[in-house]
């Protein structure tokens, strides 16, 4: 426990005028300091793989979508932003989404969908800006969400790094 010291003002501090001069000198010094304000829209923000931007769906090199519409991300989403309808497909993965909507106005960019996805199909991209003229336009459908995996690979590697745990134990299988 420490008792904080209450200071009594000295005569000069009580006078106030010298303090004004001292205060102004602080202001003057600040004028010549390096400016730290960022001019945002002109100077775009730097993003990297850590950035948790809007979620996007990964598309393989051969243009097939990775998602198998298992619905885990839909369940994990705390904002009820994701809506999925699945359908059969002839591809090896057997199922793919027929409809995959993310309501970007609901999405809170928490990253739970990315964490839940067992198929590496959804990742938080580096896309941050979100603006449109209507609410409907901001409910992104599957076409708007698709991104080539090359654009998300950096994030994918990073997520693997983050979720690399329990080294001392072996797999349960």
């Amino acid at each position: 426990m420490v008792i904080v010291k209450r200071k009594e003002l000295s005569f000069w501090e009580r006078l106030y005028l010298p303090e004004v001069v001292r205060g102004l000198s602080v202001t003057m010094r600040a004028i010549f300091r390096r400016k730290i304000t960022r001019q945002y829209p002109e100077e775009p923000l730097a993003t990297n793989e850590v950035t948790r931007g809007q979620p996007r769906l990964a598309v393989n090199e051969d243009d097939t979508i990775r998602c198998v519409s298992c619905g885990l991300c839909e369940i994990a989403c705390p904002a009820y932003a994701i809506t999925i309808d699945g359908q059969e497909t002839d591809r090896f993965i057997e199922r793919e989404p027929e409809r995959f909507d993310i309501d970007m106005l609901r999405c809170i960019l928490c990253g739970f969908c990315e964490e839940a996805c067992p198929k590496d199909a959804i990742f938080m991209s580096e896309e941050l800006e979100l603006a449109d003229f209507s609410r409907e336009a901001l409910v992104y459908d599957i076409e708007k969400l698709k991104r080539p995996i090359s654009a998300l690979q950096r994030r994918s590697d990073y997520v693997y790094k983050l979720n690399d745990r329990w080294h001392s134990s072996s797999s349960t299988s």
Binding site: V2, I3, R6, G23, I75, D164, S169, S171
Partner: protein, 415 residues
């Protein structure tokens, strides 16, 4: 409910020989609504103030303008999905709220957080505390006319937010704590940024102090204003810096240590009189102590490098990503935890020392995937309750100093 309180002479209050009868407006009580959009009410607090001239005769805080039903959300969303909601309680210290909630769940489920996870948590809590106290300094400063403070503290806070951005990918609303630890380890890059910040930060506190502590305006507007005695503070269940400002040495980090706080070396600052000035001094000293704790935590991070930050517990923690791809069992665990995370039946309460006071989460479970009850003990609510006690009988301009010094965030009060 009326609280009447007599007070001794305080600067700015009418002198003893002041004749109310001479006052042309004497006796005419004016009702004034302060807020909910008043910038000095720090959010959407509405105060109904009855004024007799400049003197506050009665005041009644009216809360609830930011009510979003957080407790109910927790009960309908389930255990894990509530984490992003805790961010939005006291939104100037999201990680602290995350950790408070996680600790309650861990108590209920009986999970031990690995050592490195605890160190990271302590580090995050202290960084959040600094950020929250910076907001207090800045906003209270600008309310009382010290505009420079606002810019200077926000400059520092910006550094913290950039570091959190580099660590979590978000500046605010981080959601990086999970049941059993934290989502990600603090890597060396972030560690270096943190060290750089913490090493230069005491210097910045000195600068803040040189601008305020002996500034005559700050001094006169805070000193002997809003005096809260220790008995009153305890009777109104105030906690945190508001309680300690009144001279009560109570800090949950010392009284009921959690996350290994007992192994850190730090002091708890307490005040003497309990006025706004004391509360200010306590918070400034707390920032210094937080810097101390955070630096110790950084040293321990270097010692425990390579350790786990998430408990290995397949009932509550998602398995490693690569094994989900290769092992059927791990995939089943992944599905099980995401779709149906269950905590054992029972009830648990855990309180942590947040920047505003004791932030407690009470959770009751019937063994299903949704909480039976989740109650949040928000320190801010108690702080708001103290406004009438401190403000009645004072000049109206003191109201701003009192609100600022009690330091609450409406997101948490209304929740």
């Amino acid at each position: 409910m009326t609280i009447t309180r007599t007070f001794e002479y305080a600067p700015g209050a009418p002198p003893d020989d002041f004749e109310y009868e001479d006052d042309p407006v004497h006796g005419e009580v004016m009702q004034l609504n302060m807020g909910p959009q008043h910038p000095a009410t720090h959010g959407v607090l509405r105060l109904l103030v009855e004024l007799d001239g400049e003197i506050i005769r009665r005041t009644e805080p009216d809360v609830g303008y930011l009510h979003r039903g957080k407790e109910k959300s927790c009960e309908s969303l389930g255990w894990a999905k509530f984490f992003p909601h805790t961010d939005r309680l006291d939104y100037v210290q999201p990680l602290m709220n995350n950790i408070g909630y996680a600790l309650a769940l861990e108590k209920l489920a009986g999970i031990d957080v690995p050592e490195r996870g605890q160190v990271v948590r302590v580090l995050l809590m202290e960084i959040s505390r600094i950020a929250a106290h910076l907001i207090y300094l800045g906003t209270t400063g600008i309310d009382l006319g010290a505009v420079t403070m606002f810019f200077n503290t926000f400059k520092e806070r910006e550094k913290i937010y950039s570091i959190l951005d580099a660590y979590t990918g978000h500046r605010m609303n981080n959601t990086y704590v999970r049941i059993g630890g934290v989502y990600a380890d603090v890597d060396e890059g972030v560690e270096a940024l943190l060290r750089e910040f913490l090493v230069q930060f005491p210097e910045q506190i000195d600068e803040f102090e040189s601008l305020l502590t002996s500034n005559r305006i700050w001094y006169d507007r805070n000193r002997d204003v809003g005096v809260l005695t220790a008995d009153e503070a305890m009777a109104w269940s105030l906690t945190g810096p508001n309680l300690r400002g009144s001279g009560v040495d109570h800090d949950l980090r010392k009284a009921e240590p959690y996350s290994g706080y007992e192994t850190y070396d730090f002091e708890v600052p307490v005040g003497t009189i309990g006025d706004c000035y004391d509360r200010y001094l306590v918070r400034v000293e707390e920032m210094r102590q937080s810097t101390r704790i955070a630096l110790q935590a950084l040293t321990r991070l270097a010692e425990t490098r390579g350790g786990e930050v998430l408990a290995e517990d397949r009932r509550y923690v998602l398995p490693p990503r690569d094994r989900v791809q290769s092992s059927m069992e791990e995939l089943i665990f992944q599905f099980k935890i995401v779709t149906d995370l269950r905590l054992p039946a029972g009830r648990a309460y855990h309180g942590i020392e947040s920047s505003k006071g004791e932030l407690g989460f009470f959770v009751a479970s019937d063994g299903s995937s949704k909480p039976l009850r989740c109650h949040i003990r928000a320190p801010g609510l108690m702080n708001v309750q103290a406004i009438p006690l401190l403000a009645e009988g004072r000049l109206f301009s003191d109201m701003v100093a009192i609100i600022g010094s009690l330091d609450f965030v409406m997101g948490e009060v209304d929740r």
